[in-house]
């Protein structure tokens, strides 16, 4: 009992000293300045020795405490090395060095903390968007504010204007507009009314709603995104695991080396210098810093990168496969070309609209939309000819709407001009709809899907980033695939692909040695998303996509893809730079201990702390990364 009490007191003393680290640092620099001034200006050795000695002892206290704590759990940390070095310097009466080294070490860790927080800021911003409280309907029928952890599935919650929606749920009553930027990256408010789904972490911009909780806490979409990002920022690549193993043995090895040097050449000065140079600080910290800054940048720009292994794979991608033409096109076919034959066009268009209004075929919808407001007639005796079109009576006329084979069936003669128009329409990738009234061709329409705005430029950017093959695997058979491929400069396009065909195709590409990224919405392409080295989901935060993919483009925004690839490349490059800086510094320092005159403990500490700051600053650059072209 007595011992635990004493231990407890000792613990709180330790904690007190550690919590005053920054004060100690300040006092220590003041003492060092006093020491040097009295020595050099006032030639007062006594005051100089005293103040430097106090600075050394005071400065080494927190470091020594950390060293003892580390040794207790069998870790030879840098604190251990520095403590031994400082005690050594103190014993050989080199007080200037012992004071300056402890100060530099404390100052270095102070700067590390400040700058590291910066690199982590982007992800912190994200996690801080998590809702904290909720207004829950209690048994007495009143709403009461509770912590978000206390909300269970099935609870009824009240959300007021301006507050965060605390859970994933369904609207029971009320209406409002919700800003879903935290989930979709899209800040245009979305209207919500009874039975609409709402997401945790989104903000009710106006209105008041009551919701029932469907998913709470970490199970919500937002909770899962946060968890993914948190896992991602600390995920380790093979190289990193190697560095970790290496540094585990490196620090003890340095201790042994220093001891042996002392034994053999009996030079305490060199031995303690080796100790200070010993810690691979920049090496341990370099890669995680790049990783967290890169992933943080992505999170800010609607790109979720799931870890450093993926960043490394993604940066090497040379083939990008798209799951369907719909990813590249608007997915909303429109009438693009039109040709009329004979007169009375207005009436014919009215007939056409009347017939097409009855159908929900995508082409029919495009035609109705194209014709717009017009007089509608009663349609009688409608006959749907499978795979060809519709024949019906309108206003007493026989109207046939459909493809060329329907015209042949209906014995509609096609003039030379009409035939030429048909083939040129087809060349442009149109689906054809012909309209004949009473056996006479009146209108020819060409309908096709359009390429999404900006897609062409985005693909160009991907090529500039070093992607050699751009492939589209489409389930469509409307002949539009080739056209899209040609217009966008894709290297390959395949149509009529089932999900299993796509997966087989990707396997083939990988077998050829290509590094493949597959872009899909994750709905029925999960096998391909998993098979490809990098699965990129274009999901507005849908469950399957987030789970199975390696990279998520939030809000299905295609324009994020070049940024994502550029960022992955920049991050991978940044990691390599940091490893080179860290290893380089260690090699140069250790070599100069033996080969040069200028190396001492102070310079060693300066270089050590300096290299840590250099890798942190280098990593920080990633927070501002933007695609240049």
């Amino acid at each position: 009992m007595q011992t635990t009490k004493r231990e407890g007191r000792w613990l709180s003393v330790q904690r007190f000293i550690l919590s005053k680290k920054n004060h100690i640092m300040t006092i220590s620099i003041i003492l060092i300045v006093i020491g040097f001034v009295s020595k050099l200006v006032f030639k007062n050795q006594m005051i100089a020795i005293c103040s430097l000695a106090i600075a050394s002892v005071l400065g080494v206290l927190p470091i020594a405490i950390q060293a003892v704590q580390a040794l207790k759990v069998k870790v030879i940390s840098i604190d251990v090395l520095v403590t031994i070095a400082v005690i050594g310097a103190f014993l050989i009466k080199n007080l200037e060095e012992s004071a300056i080294v402890t100060f530099l070490f404390l100052f270095g860790s102070f700067l590390e903390q400040r700058t590291l927080n910066k690199t982590r800021s982007a992800i912190k911003e994200l996690t801080e968007m998590a809702p904290e409280s909720a207004l829950k309907l209690m048994e007495n029928g009143e709403f009461e504010e509770v912590e978000v952890d206390e909300v269970d599935v099935g609870d009824v919650l009240l959300v007021k204007t301006g507050s965060k929606i605390p859970v994933d749920g369904t609207v029971l009553a009320g209406e409002g507009y919700v800003n879903e930027a935290s989930i979709t990256g899209e800040s245009v408010p979305v209207s919500k009314k009874k039975d609409s789904g709402v997401y945790a972490g989104t903000i009710l911009e106006n209105g008041t709603i009551q919701i029932i909780a469907n998913r709470v806490g970490e199970d919500t979409t937002f909770g899962r995104i946060i968890e993914l990002v948190e896992e991602a920022q600390d995920s380790k690549s093979e190289a990193e695991r190697f560095i970790d193993r290496f540094s585990k043995y490196y620090t003890p090895a340095v201790l042994v080396l220093a001891f042996m040097v002392w034994l053999i050449i009996r030079d305490v000065e060199i031995a303690i210098t080796i100790l200070v140079l010993g810690c691979p600080g920049a090496l341990v910290i370099g890669v995680p810093v790049s990783n967290v800054a890169g992933i943080g940048n992505g999170a800010r720009h609607g790109v979720l990168l799931k870890g450093s292994e993926i960043i490394s794979d993604f940066s090497k991608v040379d083939t990008i496969v798209f799951d369907k033409t719909g990813t590249l096109t608007i997915g909303n076919p429109k009438v693009i070309d039109k040709e009329v034959y004979g007169g009375n066009t207005e009436k014919v268009l009215s007939y056409l609209a009347s017939v097409e209004k009855e159908s929900d075929h995508p082409l029919a919808k495009a035609i109705v939309e194209y014709i717009g407001d017009t007089t509608l007639y009663t349609v009688e005796k409608t006959d749907v000819v499978k795979g060809s079109g519709i024949v019906a009576y309108v206003d007493g006329h026989r109207v046939a709407v459909g493809n060329v084979s329907l015209m042949v069936k209906e014995n509609v003669p096609l003039s030379e001009k009409a035939k030429a128009d048909i083939s040129s329409f087809q060349e442009r990738g149109n689906s054809l709809v012909l309209t004949a009234v009473d056996g006479e061709l009146k209108v020819l329409m060409g309908i096709r899907d359009q390429i999404r705005e900006g897609v062409k430029e985005d693909l160009q950017k991907l090529k500039k980033l070093g992607v050699k093959n751009l492939v589209v695997l489409s389930g469509d058979n409307q002949g539009t695939v080739d056209l899209v491929a040609k217009e966008l400069g894709l290297t390959e396009a395949h149509e009529n692909m089932l999900p299993e065909d796509k997966a087989a195709y990707i396997e083939k590409l990988i077998a050829k040695g290509q590094i493949v990224a597959f872009v899909g919405d994750g709905v029925n392409d999960s096998p391909s998303l998993v098979l490809a080295q990098v699965g990129i989901a274009m999901g507005g935060g849908t469950d399957v996509a987030i789970e199975t993919s390696d990279v998520v483009l939030m809000n299905s925004d295609f324009s994020r893809l070049p940024h994502a690839l550029g960022l992955a490349k920049a991050t991978a490059r940044n990691m390599r730079q940091n490893i080179i800086i860290a290893v380089g510094v260690i090699v140069i320092l250790l070599a100069s201990v033996f080969l040069s005159e200028w190396m001492n403990m102070t310079i060693g500490m300066l270089a050590h702390e300096g290299s840590i700051l250099v890798v942190i600053f280098n990593g920080m650059r990633l927070l501002r990364y933007k695609l240049k072209y």
Partner: protein, 75 residues
């Protein structure tokens, strides 16, 4: 076996990871292979046998190292 997550004060020094990892592993009943110290998010995740030990035991081991425990969760 239960899963625990402990949120620590912000970790900044490179050797923190190893220290916290070893301290967590040293508690009997903690599954050594499951211990994961996340540097950037300053969290420790591990599985433990709830008949042999508790989160509080692990928290104590970590606090003894001089790190503050902010929050912990057991599933």
């Amino acid at each position: 076996m239960k899963k625990a997550t402990i949120q620590l004060e912000t970790l900044t020094c490179p050797s923190c990871i190893l220290k916290v990892e070893n301290a967590t592993k040293s508690v009997p009943g903690v599954d050594k292979d499951s211990v994961k110290v996340m540097f950037n998010s300053s969290k420790v995740k591990f599985d433990f046998d709830d008949e042999k030990t508790s989160v509080e035991e692990v928290e104590k081991a970590i606090t003894a190292l001089g790190y503050q425990v902010m929050k912990s969760k057991v599933k």
